[in-house]
Amino acid sequence: MIAHVMRLTQWEWFKLRRRWMPWILLAVAVVLMQIGLWFGYAAYHNETLQGITSGNLTSYGIAQEVDGETISLEVTCASLANEGIPPEVQEFPEELRGQVLNALEEFEAESCGNTTSLDEIRRSFTIPGSIAESMTVLVSFAPVLVLILAASIVGTEYGWGTLRTTLTRGSGRWQLLASKIALALLACVAAVIVVAIAATVASLLASVIPPAETGQLADAGKWSEVAVNFGRAIYALAPYISLGVFLAVLTQSAAAGIAVSLGYYVIELIAIPILNSTGWGENIADLILGNNVNEWMRQTVIVVETPGGSSQANQPETLQAFMVILAYIVVLSAAAFWIFLRRDVAGAKGD
């Protein structure tokens, strides 16, 4: 049986590589990843962009007259991130110090959330960080591509009526659907590898363009993180395969499957911040697929080790994300199989 599924997958691959659609999706993935990588490169070398992304241009100042003398303090997001609270705070009288510290905390929380240190920017276009980063970037937009791919692989069979032609050759229903899911997974693995290769080539190119920046090729530890990121990226994309396949089977159409799954994806994007802003909604948001995929991939960003710094790993949240993603994969796939095995197969629907 497994051999039969593998054979079907092999021939599904034969068909897939003769279609335009997967090549277009792959090109989109590579181009978007390249945009991210070269933006990092530009941000690192351009003073203004560097200032914005690193937080050097986001500043906060306090001036206070004490005993006829003006005590002033100016910080930036970058200085807070790299050097912490400046020692000048101690010059403020004790009764004011608390207020100043509170003001700095507020500034950091409100204005410095999206800043990235220069080291982090640099690693986004140097090997091996760029490879790991490319996978994280890929997962940020690839669900859309994966939904299109998965729904199309299954839905077009209904539209063209080829499901009937295939099943009458004794393919077996569950074997056929399993081979299609395996194909989508295989395509995702191939896409992540291609994106990683494209990131490597771009990083090598970036390393020879003056002023050259080279990575840490000899750093074996970081390479193992690339491998971990690879596995995490595939796992993060897997529930979207299940979702696309399920909706295509449910609607018996590629177009409807794509439309409904993308609609769900967009609604999730809108719903997550709304739910997170309410106390009762946070628990619901914890169960939403996109939220858990974000959490899962957030843990994959290679942490820049700073003296005295600690790992950002948050095991309970990561475990929860893992379990929720797994639940989506299992439930959606099981539902797709359940429908596919039971429903009668009609002719072409002209999708």
Binding site: H4, R7, L8, Q10, W11, F14, K15, R18, R19, W20, W160, G161, T162, R164, T165, T166, L167, T168, R169, G170, S171, G172, R342, D344, V345, G347, A348
Partner: protein
């Protein structure tokens, strides 16, 4: 080797309130070209769908090759085209066949070449399926159904969309396919096609089996030949001929009287009428056709 390749027992399919197939019990002998006839909506395609595992029966059962083999194993001995042949539009005809050959675990480029040659598609084998005419699609469907040299063929309207020459060619091909023990289940709305090609036939109407048997037996069971004649007094002719005990049904059809009677006794008909001073002006023996038989047994359902 068992003599039945398809056996259905009370096969039923219901879609809500609609009974598409009603307790169908069929027996298809090995090596026959078996016609499945019926008006539109009589359940022919649904029956094929159930036998091919595409449609789940509501009740009843069936066996292919009269064996207890797994349905998938049985299906691998079957070739089928159901309604319009459906293939991948972006693949060439040859790649489509290669795919369907490959998923059964075989790769034999020579078989593909032979089949494409056989159905007359060798010249267009490299063209994408979406560029094919309906007739070419049917030919590719035939080639597909013959992949792996199946023991049982399901052909649903195989000449649909073909020109007259192509239809004649395909009919000849279907006859040649039923050799070496291969069985063909042919569904067609062209009754003369079925009569020309099939050995035996099942007639469906509103999902029910109306008749089943050898074509020649079914036709002769309705009284065999008929004689059409014109007389000087058709009403009196009906009265006279109805009184003859060896004459079957006597009806008026337009300006003619149609009599079910053996053609070789035409002179006795003429003599009987002459004795009653009714004179025959025109007389022709008509053989009962499958089409006439079909219309008779399906009544108001009309031809398929």
């Amino acid at each position: 080797m068992n003599n039945l390749v398809i056996r259905t027992d009370g096969l039923t399919k219901r879609y809500g309130d609609i009974l598409a197939v009603d307790s169908l019990s069929l027996e298809v002998p090995r090596g026959h070209i078996f016609g499945l006839l019926g008006p539109n909506g009589s359940g022919k395609t649904t029956t094929m769908g159930m036998l091919l595992g595409l449609v789940e029966p509501t009740a009843g059962s069936f066996t292919l090759f009269d064996s207890g083999a797994h349905p998938l194993e049985s299906l691998r001995r079957v070739g089928a085209i159901v309604e319009t042949p459906s293939f991948y539009p972006y693949l060439s005809g040859r790649d489509n066949l290669a795919y369907f050959q490959g998923i059964t675990g075989r790769t034999d480029p020579r078989e593909l070449d032979d089949l494409l040659e056989k159905v007359g598609l060798a010249d267009r084998a490299g063209s994408r399926f979406r560029t094919y005419s309906l007739g070419m699609k049917q030919r590719l469907g035939l080639a597909y159904s013959l992949l792996g040299d199946p023991e049982l063929l399901f052909l649903d309207e195989p000449t649909n969309g073909m020109d007259p020459a192509g239809m004649a060619e395909v009919r000849g091909m279907i006859r040649s396919l039923a050799t070496g023990g291969r069985t063909v289940l042919l569904s067609s709305h062209l009754l003369h096609e079925v009569e020309q090609v099939c050995d035996s036939v099942a007639i469906l109407s509103k999902g029910k089996l109306i008749a089943q048997g050898m074509v020649k037996d079914l036709v002769s069971s309705q009284g065999g030949e008929r004689v059409r004649l014109r007389t000087t007094d058709n009403a009196k002719a009906v009265e006279v001929l109805s009184a003859l005990d060896w004459v079957g049904e006597v009806t008026i059809d337009g300006e003619s009287v149609v009599v079910t009677a053996p053609g070789e006794r035409s002179s006795e008909l003429s003599a009987a009428l002459g004795g009653a001073e009714v004179y025959v002006t025109e007389m022709a023996a008509e053989e009962m056709s499958l089409e006439q038989y079909f219309l008779d047994v399906t009544g108001d359902d009309q031809a398929a």
